[in-house]
Protein backbone atom coordinates (compact mmCIF):
# COMPACT_ATOMS: atom_id res chain seq x y z
CA UNK A 1 0.00 0.00 0.00
CA UNK A 2 1.42 3.33 -1.05
CA UNK A 3 2.11 6.02 1.49
CA UNK A 4 1.07 9.27 -0.14
CA UNK A 5 2.17 12.71 0.94
CA UNK A 6 -0.80 15.05 0.80
CA UNK A 7 0.57 18.61 0.75
CA UNK A 8 -2.19 19.61 3.14
CA UNK A 9 -2.42 16.63 5.51
CA UNK A 10 0.94 14.89 5.37
CA UNK A 11 1.64 11.23 4.71
CA UNK A 12 -1.43 9.05 4.61
CA UNK A 13 -2.10 5.51 3.35
CA UNK A 14 -3.26 4.94 -0.17
CA UNK A 15 -6.76 3.85 0.87
CA UNK A 16 -7.58 7.47 1.79
CA UNK A 17 -6.98 8.61 -1.77
CA UNK A 18 -8.43 8.37 -5.23
CA UNK A 19 -6.04 8.34 -8.16
CA UNK A 20 -7.04 10.96 -10.70
CA UNK A 21 -4.76 10.38 -13.67
CA UNK A 22 -1.87 12.15 -15.31
CA UNK A 23 -1.22 15.69 -14.12
CA UNK A 24 -0.72 18.76 -16.27
CA UNK A 25 -3.06 17.56 -19.02
CA UNK A 26 -4.37 20.92 -20.11
CA UNK A 27 -8.01 21.30 -21.02
CA UNK A 28 -8.10 23.49 -24.12
CA UNK A 29 -8.78 27.08 -23.09
CA UNK A 30 -11.53 27.48 -25.65
CA UNK A 31 -12.80 24.08 -26.71
CA UNK A 32 -14.85 25.69 -29.50
CA UNK A 33 -11.65 26.71 -31.20
CA UNK A 34 -9.76 23.45 -30.96
CA UNK A 35 -9.54 20.76 -33.58
CA UNK A 36 -10.83 17.24 -32.96
CA UNK A 37 -7.21 16.16 -32.77
CA UNK A 38 -6.38 18.51 -29.91
CA UNK A 39 -9.56 17.64 -28.07
CA UNK A 40 -8.92 13.90 -28.43
CA UNK A 41 -5.40 14.39 -27.13
CA UNK A 42 -6.80 16.15 -24.06
CA UNK A 43 -9.42 13.49 -23.48
CA UNK A 44 -7.50 10.36 -24.15
CA UNK A 45 -3.84 10.53 -25.03
CA UNK A 46 -1.44 10.03 -22.16
CA UNK A 47 2.32 9.86 -21.67
CA UNK A 48 2.00 6.73 -19.57
CA UNK A 49 5.75 6.65 -18.93
CA UNK A 50 7.75 3.87 -17.35
CA UNK A 51 9.59 6.29 -15.12
CA UNK A 52 8.83 9.55 -13.39
CA UNK A 53 5.19 10.43 -13.63
CA UNK A 54 3.42 13.59 -12.56
CA UNK A 55 -0.01 12.53 -11.46
CA UNK A 56 -3.07 13.75 -9.65
CA UNK A 57 -4.43 12.39 -6.40
CA UNK A 58 -7.65 13.31 -4.68
CA UNK A 59 -7.57 13.06 -0.89
CA UNK A 60 -11.09 11.82 -1.00
CA UNK A 61 -11.23 10.47 2.55
CA UNK A 62 -9.32 13.40 3.97
CA UNK A 63 -9.16 17.05 3.00
CA UNK A 64 -10.72 16.31 -0.39
CA UNK A 65 -8.14 18.43 -2.15
CA UNK A 66 -6.71 17.50 -5.50
CA UNK A 67 -2.94 17.70 -5.61
CA UNK A 68 -0.11 16.54 -7.80
CA UNK A 69 2.62 14.11 -6.98
CA UNK A 70 5.63 12.76 -8.77
CA UNK A 71 6.06 9.01 -8.60
CA UNK A 72 8.31 6.59 -10.41
CA UNK A 73 5.99 4.14 -12.10
CA UNK A 74 8.46 1.28 -12.03
CA UNK A 75 9.42 1.48 -8.36
CA UNK A 76 6.21 3.21 -7.19
CA UNK A 77 8.36 5.52 -5.06
CA UNK A 78 7.23 9.13 -4.70
CA UNK A 79 9.66 11.97 -5.09
CA UNK A 80 7.44 14.84 -4.06
CA UNK A 81 3.98 16.28 -4.09
CA UNK A 82 2.70 19.79 -4.69
CA UNK A 83 -0.60 21.63 -4.84
CA UNK A 84 -2.68 21.51 -7.99
CA UNK A 85 -2.10 24.50 -10.22
CA UNK A 86 1.55 24.80 -9.40
CA UNK A 87 4.06 23.79 -12.03
CA UNK A 88 5.45 20.31 -11.70
CA UNK A 89 9.07 19.46 -11.17
CA UNK A 90 10.84 18.47 -14.34
CA UNK A 91 9.99 14.93 -15.24
CA UNK A 92 12.46 12.75 -17.00
CA UNK A 93 10.86 11.54 -20.18
CA UNK A 94 9.92 7.92 -19.66
CA UNK A 95 11.68 5.49 -21.85
Amino acid sequence: MLLIDCPFCGQRPEIEFRYAGEAHVLRPIDPRECEDEEWAAYLYRRRNPAGDHAERWHHVHGCRRFFNARRHTVTDLFSGSYPAGTPGPECEAGQ
Binding site: M1, I15, N48
Partner: protein, 416 residues
Protein backbone atom coordinates in the same frame (compact mmCIF):
# COMPACT_ATOMS: atom_id res chain seq x y z
CA UNK B 1 8.16 -34.21 -34.12
CA UNK B 2 4.45 -34.81 -33.92
CA UNK B 3 3.07 -35.12 -30.42
CA UNK B 4 0.72 -37.95 -29.53
CA UNK B 5 0.25 -40.73 -27.03
CA UNK B 6 2.39 -42.83 -29.33
CA UNK B 7 5.21 -40.31 -29.08
CA UNK B 8 5.08 -40.60 -25.31
CA UNK B 9 5.09 -44.36 -25.52
CA UNK B 10 8.09 -44.42 -27.83
CA UNK B 11 9.94 -41.90 -25.73
CA UNK B 12 9.44 -43.97 -22.64
CA UNK B 13 11.76 -46.51 -24.17
CA UNK B 14 14.46 -44.20 -25.44
CA UNK B 15 14.80 -42.17 -22.29
CA UNK B 16 13.00 -39.14 -23.76
CA UNK B 17 16.19 -38.55 -25.67
CA UNK B 18 14.77 -37.66 -29.08
CA UNK B 19 12.69 -34.62 -28.31
CA UNK B 20 14.03 -31.60 -30.17
CA UNK B 21 13.67 -28.00 -29.08
CA UNK B 22 10.00 -27.14 -29.20
CA UNK B 23 10.89 -23.95 -31.04
CA UNK B 24 14.15 -23.05 -32.76
CA UNK B 25 16.46 -20.70 -30.89
CA UNK B 26 16.78 -18.30 -33.77
CA UNK B 27 19.40 -15.62 -34.18
CA UNK B 28 18.25 -12.47 -35.91
CA UNK B 29 18.67 -12.24 -39.65
CA UNK B 30 19.49 -8.86 -41.22
CA UNK B 31 15.91 -8.22 -42.21
CA UNK B 32 12.41 -9.65 -42.35
CA UNK B 33 9.21 -8.98 -44.21
CA UNK B 34 7.43 -8.65 -40.91
CA UNK B 35 8.73 -8.16 -37.41
CA UNK B 36 6.35 -8.82 -34.58
CA UNK B 37 7.54 -7.09 -31.44
CA UNK B 38 6.43 -9.07 -28.43
CA UNK B 39 6.59 -12.82 -27.88
CA UNK B 40 3.42 -13.21 -25.90
CA UNK B 41 0.45 -15.25 -26.95
CA UNK B 42 -0.91 -12.56 -29.25
CA UNK B 43 2.41 -11.92 -30.97
CA UNK B 44 3.20 -15.61 -31.45
CA UNK B 45 -0.32 -16.26 -32.73
CA UNK B 46 0.10 -13.37 -35.16
CA UNK B 47 3.30 -14.91 -36.50
CA UNK B 48 1.74 -18.35 -36.74
CA UNK B 49 -1.26 -17.19 -38.72
CA UNK B 50 0.93 -14.97 -40.91
CA UNK B 51 2.83 -18.07 -41.91
CA UNK B 52 -0.07 -20.43 -42.09
CA UNK B 53 -2.91 -18.35 -43.53
CA UNK B 54 -1.00 -15.79 -45.55
CA UNK B 55 2.18 -17.64 -46.47
CA UNK B 56 4.30 -14.89 -44.97
CA UNK B 57 7.11 -16.86 -43.40
CA UNK B 58 9.95 -14.35 -43.45
CA UNK B 59 8.82 -13.28 -40.02
CA UNK B 60 10.56 -12.68 -36.71
CA UNK B 61 8.99 -12.50 -33.31
CA UNK B 62 11.25 -10.41 -31.11
CA UNK B 63 10.93 -10.89 -27.39
CA UNK B 64 12.70 -8.90 -24.70
CA UNK B 65 12.75 -11.78 -22.24
CA UNK B 66 11.27 -15.23 -22.54
CA UNK B 67 8.19 -16.00 -24.60
CA UNK B 68 4.92 -15.95 -22.75
CA UNK B 69 6.50 -14.02 -19.87
CA UNK B 70 4.16 -11.06 -19.88
CA UNK B 71 0.45 -11.17 -19.39
CA UNK B 72 0.20 -14.51 -21.20
CA UNK B 73 1.86 -16.14 -18.23
CA UNK B 74 0.19 -13.99 -15.59
CA UNK B 75 -3.50 -13.99 -16.34
CA UNK B 76 -6.35 -15.99 -14.86
CA UNK B 77 -6.97 -17.80 -18.18
CA UNK B 78 -10.66 -17.03 -18.52
CA UNK B 79 -12.11 -17.47 -21.99
CA UNK B 80 -15.53 -16.17 -22.96
CA UNK B 81 -17.15 -14.15 -25.70
CA UNK B 82 -20.32 -12.82 -24.09
CA UNK B 83 -19.56 -9.18 -24.83
CA UNK B 84 -22.36 -6.70 -25.32
CA UNK B 85 -21.65 -4.85 -28.52
CA UNK B 86 -21.77 -6.50 -31.91
CA UNK B 87 -18.20 -5.49 -32.68
CA UNK B 88 -16.85 -7.02 -29.48
CA UNK B 89 -18.94 -10.15 -29.71
CA UNK B 90 -17.67 -10.71 -33.24
CA UNK B 91 -14.08 -10.27 -32.10
CA UNK B 92 -14.18 -12.52 -29.06
CA UNK B 93 -16.42 -15.12 -30.64
CA UNK B 94 -14.00 -15.39 -33.54
CA UNK B 95 -11.36 -16.20 -30.94
CA UNK B 96 -13.61 -18.70 -29.21
CA UNK B 97 -14.17 -20.52 -32.48
CA UNK B 98 -10.41 -20.85 -32.89
CA UNK B 99 -9.95 -21.97 -29.27
CA UNK B 100 -12.21 -24.94 -29.86
CA UNK B 101 -9.80 -26.61 -32.26
CA UNK B 102 -6.60 -25.03 -31.13
CA UNK B 103 -4.99 -28.07 -29.50
CA UNK B 104 -5.48 -30.05 -32.68
CA UNK B 105 -4.48 -27.15 -34.92
CA UNK B 106 -1.23 -26.67 -33.04
CA UNK B 107 -0.70 -30.32 -32.12
CA UNK B 108 -0.19 -29.05 -28.60
CA UNK B 109 -2.64 -29.58 -25.80
CA UNK B 110 -3.55 -26.08 -24.65
CA UNK B 111 -6.17 -27.64 -22.40
CA UNK B 112 -9.02 -25.47 -23.56
CA UNK B 113 -11.77 -26.46 -21.24
CA UNK B 114 -15.26 -25.09 -21.89
CA UNK B 115 -16.42 -25.55 -18.33
CA UNK B 116 -18.84 -22.63 -18.41
CA UNK B 117 -18.52 -19.04 -17.30
CA UNK B 118 -21.08 -17.91 -14.78
CA UNK B 119 -21.64 -14.18 -14.39
CA UNK B 120 -23.61 -13.49 -11.25
CA UNK B 121 -26.42 -10.97 -10.83
CA UNK B 122 -27.02 -9.59 -7.36
CA UNK B 123 -29.21 -6.56 -7.89
CA UNK B 124 -32.07 -5.39 -10.06
CA UNK B 125 -29.57 -3.37 -12.04
CA UNK B 126 -27.34 -6.44 -12.49
CA UNK B 127 -30.32 -8.36 -13.84
CA UNK B 128 -31.04 -5.62 -16.37
CA UNK B 129 -27.43 -5.38 -17.47
CA UNK B 130 -26.78 -9.10 -17.63
CA UNK B 131 -30.05 -9.90 -19.39
CA UNK B 132 -29.20 -7.21 -21.92
CA UNK B 133 -25.99 -9.11 -22.57
CA UNK B 134 -27.81 -12.42 -22.87
CA UNK B 135 -30.34 -11.04 -25.35
CA UNK B 136 -27.65 -9.32 -27.39
CA UNK B 137 -25.39 -12.36 -27.33
CA UNK B 138 -28.09 -14.68 -28.58
CA UNK B 139 -28.70 -12.45 -31.58
CA UNK B 140 -24.99 -12.62 -32.26
CA UNK B 141 -24.91 -16.38 -31.99
CA UNK B 142 -23.07 -16.35 -28.68
CA UNK B 143 -24.39 -19.08 -26.40
CA UNK B 144 -25.13 -17.04 -23.32
CA UNK B 145 -28.09 -18.13 -21.21
CA UNK B 146 -29.95 -16.69 -18.27
CA UNK B 147 -30.12 -18.86 -15.17
CA UNK B 148 -32.62 -18.34 -12.41
CA UNK B 149 -31.50 -18.38 -8.81
CA UNK B 150 -32.41 -22.05 -8.50
CA UNK B 151 -30.60 -22.90 -11.71
CA UNK B 152 -27.50 -21.09 -10.47
CA UNK B 153 -27.55 -23.08 -7.25
CA UNK B 154 -27.85 -26.32 -9.19
CA UNK B 155 -25.15 -25.44 -11.71
CA UNK B 156 -22.60 -24.30 -9.17
CA UNK B 157 -23.01 -26.07 -5.85
CA UNK B 158 -21.15 -24.33 -3.06
CA UNK B 159 -22.11 -20.81 -4.03
CA UNK B 160 -23.56 -18.84 -1.18
CA UNK B 161 -27.21 -18.64 -2.21
CA UNK B 162 -28.43 -17.22 1.09
CA UNK B 163 -30.93 -14.39 0.63
CA UNK B 164 -29.37 -12.89 3.75
CA UNK B 165 -26.00 -12.41 2.06
CA UNK B 166 -24.80 -8.83 1.76
CA UNK B 167 -25.13 -9.19 -2.00
CA UNK B 168 -27.55 -12.07 -2.48
CA UNK B 169 -27.35 -13.90 -5.78
CA UNK B 170 -30.55 -13.51 -7.78
CA UNK B 171 -29.55 -15.09 -11.08
CA UNK B 172 -26.72 -15.33 -13.55
CA UNK B 173 -25.69 -15.51 -17.14
CA UNK B 174 -23.98 -18.70 -18.21
CA UNK B 175 -21.84 -19.07 -21.27
CA UNK B 176 -21.34 -22.80 -21.44
CA UNK B 177 -18.82 -22.60 -24.25
CA UNK B 178 -16.60 -20.33 -22.16
CA UNK B 179 -14.00 -21.67 -19.81
CA UNK B 180 -10.26 -21.73 -19.32
CA UNK B 181 -7.07 -22.86 -21.01
CA UNK B 182 -3.50 -23.52 -19.93
CA UNK B 183 -1.86 -20.15 -20.50
CA UNK B 184 1.78 -21.20 -20.86
CA UNK B 185 0.86 -23.92 -23.31
CA UNK B 186 -0.77 -21.33 -25.56
CA UNK B 187 2.50 -19.45 -25.91
CA UNK B 188 4.57 -22.59 -26.33
CA UNK B 189 2.11 -24.20 -28.73
CA UNK B 190 1.98 -21.15 -30.99
CA UNK B 191 5.77 -20.78 -30.80
CA UNK B 192 6.35 -24.38 -31.77
CA UNK B 193 3.86 -24.26 -34.62
CA UNK B 194 5.12 -20.90 -35.90
CA UNK B 195 8.72 -22.01 -35.66
CA UNK B 196 7.90 -25.14 -37.62
CA UNK B 197 6.58 -22.92 -40.40
CA UNK B 198 9.80 -20.93 -40.56
CA UNK B 199 9.14 -18.06 -38.18
CA UNK B 200 12.19 -16.93 -36.23
CA UNK B 201 11.50 -16.60 -32.54
CA UNK B 202 14.20 -14.43 -31.05
CA UNK B 203 14.22 -14.31 -27.26
CA UNK B 204 16.32 -12.12 -24.99
CA UNK B 205 16.31 -9.41 -27.63
CA UNK B 206 15.02 -6.06 -26.51
CA UNK B 207 13.77 -3.49 -28.98
CA UNK B 208 15.26 -0.15 -28.05
CA UNK B 209 14.25 1.90 -31.08
CA UNK B 210 12.20 1.93 -34.24
CA UNK B 211 14.17 3.18 -37.22
CA UNK B 212 12.25 5.07 -39.88
CA UNK B 213 13.01 5.90 -43.47
CA UNK B 214 13.25 9.38 -44.81
CA UNK B 215 9.61 9.15 -45.93
CA UNK B 216 8.56 8.33 -42.39
CA UNK B 217 7.84 4.66 -42.97
CA UNK B 218 9.41 2.04 -40.77
CA UNK B 219 12.80 0.65 -41.71
CA UNK B 220 13.33 -1.78 -38.88
CA UNK B 221 14.07 -2.04 -35.22
CA UNK B 222 17.12 -1.25 -33.14
CA UNK B 223 17.59 -4.01 -30.64
CA UNK B 224 19.93 -5.13 -27.93
CA UNK B 225 21.27 -7.49 -30.59
CA UNK B 226 21.67 -4.88 -33.29
CA UNK B 227 19.55 -3.45 -36.07
CA UNK B 228 17.02 -5.70 -37.77
CA UNK B 229 15.33 -4.48 -40.91
CA UNK B 230 11.62 -4.89 -41.57
CA UNK B 231 9.07 -3.83 -44.12
CA UNK B 232 6.29 -4.00 -41.59
CA UNK B 233 6.29 -3.97 -37.83
CA UNK B 234 3.50 -5.19 -35.61
CA UNK B 235 3.64 -4.04 -32.00
CA UNK B 236 2.08 -6.58 -29.68
CA UNK B 237 3.62 -5.62 -26.37
CA UNK B 238 0.89 -5.56 -23.76
CA UNK B 239 2.10 -3.69 -20.71
CA UNK B 240 4.70 -1.83 -22.76
CA UNK B 241 2.63 -0.51 -25.64
CA UNK B 242 3.11 3.15 -24.76
CA UNK B 243 6.88 2.82 -24.55
CA UNK B 244 7.31 0.89 -27.77
CA UNK B 245 4.97 3.12 -29.74
CA UNK B 246 6.72 6.17 -28.33
CA UNK B 247 9.83 4.95 -30.16
CA UNK B 248 7.96 5.88 -33.32
CA UNK B 249 6.59 9.08 -31.77
CA UNK B 250 3.10 7.67 -31.49
CA UNK B 251 1.26 8.58 -28.30
CA UNK B 252 -1.53 6.17 -27.49
CA UNK B 253 -4.78 6.57 -25.60
CA UNK B 254 -3.51 4.00 -23.11
CA UNK B 255 -2.68 3.92 -19.45
CA UNK B 256 -0.98 0.95 -17.81
CA UNK B 257 -2.16 -0.40 -14.50
CA UNK B 258 -1.14 -3.31 -12.31
CA UNK B 259 -3.60 -6.17 -12.31
CA UNK B 260 -3.18 -8.73 -9.59
CA UNK B 261 -4.07 -12.37 -9.53
CA UNK B 262 -3.51 -15.10 -7.02
CA UNK B 263 -3.85 -18.81 -6.53
CA UNK B 264 -4.69 -20.88 -3.51
CA UNK B 265 -3.01 -24.08 -2.53
CA UNK B 266 -4.24 -26.98 -4.64
CA UNK B 267 -7.10 -29.06 -3.32
CA UNK B 268 -9.28 -31.78 -4.73
CA UNK B 269 -12.01 -30.56 -7.13
CA UNK B 270 -14.44 -28.12 -5.55
CA UNK B 271 -15.39 -25.69 -8.32
CA UNK B 272 -16.17 -26.84 -11.82
CA UNK B 273 -16.86 -23.59 -13.63
CA UNK B 274 -15.67 -20.01 -13.80
CA UNK B 275 -17.58 -17.69 -11.49
CA UNK B 276 -17.50 -13.94 -11.97
CA UNK B 277 -19.25 -11.17 -10.14
CA UNK B 278 -18.99 -7.49 -10.87
CA UNK B 279 -20.96 -6.45 -7.86
CA UNK B 280 -18.76 -8.18 -5.28
CA UNK B 281 -15.87 -7.63 -7.65
CA UNK B 282 -14.01 -10.87 -8.04
CA UNK B 283 -13.73 -13.94 -10.16
CA UNK B 284 -12.60 -17.45 -9.45
CA UNK B 285 -12.07 -20.79 -11.10
CA UNK B 286 -10.19 -23.94 -10.18
CA UNK B 287 -7.28 -25.02 -12.31
CA UNK B 288 -6.68 -28.59 -13.37
CA UNK B 289 -3.94 -28.67 -10.77
CA UNK B 290 -6.47 -27.89 -8.07
CA UNK B 291 -5.56 -24.29 -7.30
CA UNK B 292 -8.28 -21.68 -7.03
CA UNK B 293 -7.34 -18.98 -9.51
CA UNK B 294 -8.60 -15.59 -8.40
CA UNK B 295 -8.59 -12.10 -9.82
CA UNK B 296 -10.33 -8.79 -9.46
CA UNK B 297 -10.10 -5.25 -10.73
CA UNK B 298 -6.86 -3.50 -11.45
CA UNK B 299 -4.96 -1.43 -8.95
CA UNK B 300 -5.90 2.24 -8.81
CA UNK B 301 -2.85 3.91 -10.31
CA UNK B 302 -0.61 3.78 -13.35
CA UNK B 303 2.35 1.52 -12.63
CA UNK B 304 4.80 -0.85 -14.23
CA UNK B 305 5.81 -2.42 -10.94
CA UNK B 306 4.12 -5.77 -11.64
CA UNK B 307 3.13 -5.74 -7.99
CA UNK B 308 0.25 -3.71 -6.68
CA UNK B 309 -1.07 -3.17 -3.20
CA UNK B 310 -1.89 -5.88 -0.69
CA UNK B 311 -5.34 -4.52 0.02
CA UNK B 312 -6.38 -4.97 -3.60
CA UNK B 313 -5.57 -8.67 -3.51
CA UNK B 314 -7.24 -8.92 -0.11
CA UNK B 315 -10.38 -7.35 -1.51
CA UNK B 316 -10.46 -9.95 -4.27
CA UNK B 317 -10.16 -12.65 -1.62
CA UNK B 318 -12.90 -11.01 0.42
CA UNK B 319 -15.10 -11.05 -2.66
CA UNK B 320 -14.49 -14.74 -3.25
CA UNK B 321 -15.23 -15.48 0.40
CA UNK B 322 -18.53 -13.64 -0.03
CA UNK B 323 -19.45 -15.93 -2.88
CA UNK B 324 -18.01 -19.04 -1.20
CA UNK B 325 -17.80 -18.46 2.58
CA UNK B 326 -16.23 -21.89 3.05
CA UNK B 327 -13.18 -20.71 1.07
CA UNK B 328 -12.13 -18.57 4.04
CA UNK B 329 -10.34 -21.73 5.05
CA UNK B 330 -8.31 -21.86 1.82
CA UNK B 331 -4.84 -20.40 1.77
CA UNK B 332 -3.23 -18.06 -0.70
CA UNK B 333 -0.18 -19.67 -2.27
CA UNK B 334 1.02 -17.10 -4.78
CA UNK B 335 0.04 -13.54 -5.57
CA UNK B 336 1.44 -11.67 -8.54
CA UNK B 337 0.78 -8.74 -10.78
CA UNK B 338 0.77 -8.06 -14.47
CA UNK B 339 0.58 -4.77 -16.31
CA UNK B 340 -2.54 -4.13 -18.30
CA UNK B 341 -2.88 -1.47 -20.96
CA UNK B 342 -6.26 0.14 -20.53
CA UNK B 343 -7.91 2.16 -23.27
CA UNK B 344 -10.61 4.70 -22.41
CA UNK B 345 -13.35 2.40 -23.74
CA UNK B 346 -11.73 -0.81 -22.51
CA UNK B 347 -11.65 -2.21 -26.05
CA UNK B 348 -8.44 -3.03 -27.90
CA UNK B 349 -6.71 -1.08 -30.65
CA UNK B 350 -5.97 -3.23 -33.69
CA UNK B 351 -4.67 -1.79 -36.90
CA UNK B 352 -2.73 0.95 -38.59
CA UNK B 353 -0.93 3.76 -36.87
CA UNK B 354 -0.02 7.17 -38.31
CA UNK B 355 3.41 5.70 -39.17
CA UNK B 356 3.45 3.79 -42.48
CA UNK B 357 4.36 0.16 -41.94
CA UNK B 358 3.75 0.32 -38.20
CA UNK B 359 0.78 -1.59 -36.86
CA UNK B 360 -0.55 -1.86 -33.35
CA UNK B 361 -2.33 -4.63 -31.53
CA UNK B 362 -2.70 -3.37 -28.00
CA UNK B 363 -4.97 -2.07 -25.31
CA UNK B 364 -6.56 -5.40 -24.46
CA UNK B 365 -6.87 -4.29 -20.87
CA UNK B 366 -7.66 -6.95 -18.34
CA UNK B 367 -9.05 -9.48 -20.78
CA UNK B 368 -6.63 -10.13 -23.61
CA UNK B 369 -5.91 -13.79 -22.99
CA UNK B 370 -9.32 -14.94 -24.14
CA UNK B 371 -8.75 -13.26 -27.49
CA UNK B 372 -5.31 -14.74 -28.17
CA UNK B 373 -5.96 -16.85 -31.28
CA UNK B 374 -8.52 -14.43 -32.70
CA UNK B 375 -6.32 -11.44 -32.09
CA UNK B 376 -3.39 -13.13 -33.82
CA UNK B 377 -5.57 -14.26 -36.69
CA UNK B 378 -7.06 -10.87 -37.55
CA UNK B 379 -3.83 -9.02 -36.88
CA UNK B 380 -2.03 -11.36 -39.25
CA UNK B 381 -4.58 -10.38 -41.89
CA UNK B 382 -3.97 -6.72 -41.17
CA UNK B 383 -0.20 -7.13 -41.41
CA UNK B 384 -0.30 -9.29 -44.49
CA UNK B 385 -2.76 -7.23 -46.51
CA UNK B 386 -2.18 -3.78 -45.07
CA UNK B 387 -5.93 -3.48 -44.51
CA UNK B 388 -7.76 -4.22 -41.34
CA UNK B 389 -9.60 -7.49 -41.12
CA UNK B 390 -13.35 -6.72 -41.16
CA UNK B 391 -13.61 -7.82 -37.53
CA UNK B 392 -10.74 -5.53 -36.59
CA UNK B 393 -11.96 -2.49 -38.52
CA UNK B 394 -14.08 -0.95 -35.72
CA UNK B 395 -11.13 -1.24 -33.33
CA UNK B 396 -9.08 1.35 -35.14
CA UNK B 397 -6.96 3.93 -33.37
CA UNK B 398 -8.92 6.79 -34.89
CA UNK B 399 -12.08 5.93 -33.01
CA UNK B 400 -10.69 8.11 -30.23
CA UNK B 401 -10.71 11.02 -32.66
CA UNK B 402 -14.20 10.45 -33.94
CA UNK B 403 -15.82 9.40 -30.70
CA UNK B 404 -16.95 6.06 -32.15
CA UNK B 405 -16.03 4.23 -28.99
CA UNK B 406 -16.89 0.62 -28.25
CA UNK B 407 -17.48 1.09 -24.60
CA UNK B 408 -17.90 -2.30 -23.03
CA UNK B 409 -16.85 -0.91 -19.68
CA UNK B 410 -19.49 1.77 -19.55
CA UNK B 411 -22.12 -0.62 -20.74
CA UNK B 412 -21.41 -3.34 -18.28
CA UNK B 413 -18.61 -2.43 -15.92
CA UNK B 414 -17.26 -5.88 -16.68
CA UNK B 415 -13.78 -6.20 -15.32
CA UNK B 416 -12.56 -9.24 -17.12
Amino acid sequence: MRFSALTLLRSAFDGQSRYPHQWRKADPRPSYDVIVIGGGGHGLATAYYLAKEYGVTNVAVIEKGWIGGGNTGRNTTIIRSNYLFDESAALYDHALTLWRGLSQELNYNVMFSPRGVLMLAHTVHDVQSIKRHVHANRLNGVDNAWLTRAQVAAFCPGLNMSPEARHPIVGAALQRSGGTARHDAVAWGFARAASARGVDIIENCEVVGIRRRIDGAVAGVETSRGFIGARKIGVVTAGRSSQVMAMADVRLPIESYPLQALVSEPTKPVLDCVVMSNTVHGYVSQSDKGELVIGAGSDAYVSYSQAGSAHVAAEAIGAVCELFPQFARMRMLRNWGGIVDLTPDRSPIIGKTPVPGLYANCGWGTGGFKATPGSGHIFAHTLATGDPHPIAAPFSLDRFLTGRLINEAAAAAVAH
